[in-house]
């Protein structure tokens, strides 16, 4: 039976799609069969980040409405084996992602996948609610910034009350993924620290992804950043995948790269 993981945040632009793409790729690299689903109807973007935008023929809504089979709509990744992408519809109405339809697709996928990663749209409207409803686990992507932390807290409240697990009296396993972290600004007192965010949200930390040029470079190229094994962000995502699988990994990239004596003395 597949684990269903929702990548969510409330706030937009914090790195949900980047995270979905990298985690799904990382899990597939570990030998699991993984499907990554874009729930952002009308604003499809996962295909671009995964670099398969020209191979989209059928989408999620086509499958729900019976216009295509799941087999026809799933795009097989060309780099990593056993990784499949289901694109969001760019034209259909948001309401087309019905709870029943999504449940049918997830049930069918669960038969042949180990992990199903649901890339949630921003906000707490219909698309986001459907994306989280069937989840076993949730990765709450948060930036060390006030509006993002507040929205994450709101989303945590919804995960605890508006999901299938919640309706069965169980709970969705929650993980915090802090992205765009700048250790230097944290040290200067200009940015919330990982401890600050953890103290406020009070959920286990899955990983800290440093602010990194490689994220934009990877998205420019349509490569999940986890494949950039020399980059800090790529390595941080690989660590997060390991922790998701229950492996112990020390958190890295939490301290700024050491500077010279003079710049330290005068507080560069």
């Amino acid at each position: 039976m597949a684990r269903i993981i929702v990548v969510t945040s409330g706030k937009g632009g914090v790195g949900k799609t980047t995270t979905s793409a990298s985690l799904a790729t990382g899990l597939a690299q570990r030998g699991f069969t993984v499907a990554v689903l874009d729930f952002d109807v009308g604003l499809r973007n996962l295909d671009l980040i995964m670099g398969c935008e020209r191979r989209v023929v059928y989408d999620f809504v086509n499958v729900i409405q019976g216009e295509a089979s799941l087999h026809q709509a799933l795009i097989r990744d060309k780099r990593v084996e056993n990784l499949f992408i289901l694109a969001a519809s760019q034209t259909k109405d948001k309401e087309a992602l019905t709870f029943e339809g999504v449940e049918r697709v997830l049930t069918e996928l669960a038969e042949r996948c180990d992990y199903i990663v649901c890339d949630s749209p921003a906000g707490i409207e219909h698309g986001a609610m459907v994306a989280m409803y069937f989840a076993d686990e949730a990765i709450v992507v948060t930036n060390p910034e006030v509006s993002s932390v507040r929205d994450s807290d709101r989303v945590l409240g919804l995960l605890q009350s508006k999901t299938r697990k919640a309706s069965q009296g169980e709970s969705v396993r929650e993980h915090l993924l802090l992205t765009r972290y700048d250790p230097l600004r944290v040290e200067r007192g200009e940015m919330l620290s990982v401890e600050d965010v953890q103290e406020i949200l009070a959920i286990p930390l899955l990983g800290v992804i440093p602010e990194s040029k490689s994220v934009l470079q990877a998205s420019n190229a349509g490569e999940p950043v986890i494949l950039e094994t020399s980059s800090d962000a790529g390595q941080a995502y690989a660590d997060a995948v390991a922790r998701l699988l229950g492996e112990e990994r020390e958190h890295r990239f939490l301290k700024p790269v050491k500077k010279g004596f003079f710049s330290r003395l005068f507080g560069g």
Partner: protein, 83 residues
């Protein structure tokens, strides 16, 4: 942190952010405590109480506390002074 920062006694912006967040998040959690029906329940209780005593919504306080596995829902109604 350089030597100049030792002369700065002002709170850093990150500390201000943390304080603001702690307040707003606690406030918002108290508002629905994970139960969306609480604001509505509070309004309905107000209507019942109002049948007998003139109170306002502000006079009804809702507290949800966790005690181990048990959640305690507490309503406090402040009654107006008796004339």
């Amino acid at each position: 942190m350089g030597i100049f920062s030792y002369f700065r006694s002002k709170k850093t912006s990150a500390q201000i952010a943390k304080n603001r967040l702690q307040i707003i998040v606690a406030h918002e959690r108290a508002e629905n405590c994970g139960y969306d029906f609480l604001p509505q329940l509070r309004r309905e209780i107000l209507l019942v109480v109002q049948k007998y005593v003139p109170v306002e919504l502000d006079h009804i306080r809702v507290d949800l506390t966790k005690d181990g596995n048990c959640e305690v829902l507490e309503f406090n109604v402040t009654l107006p002074e008796r004339k």
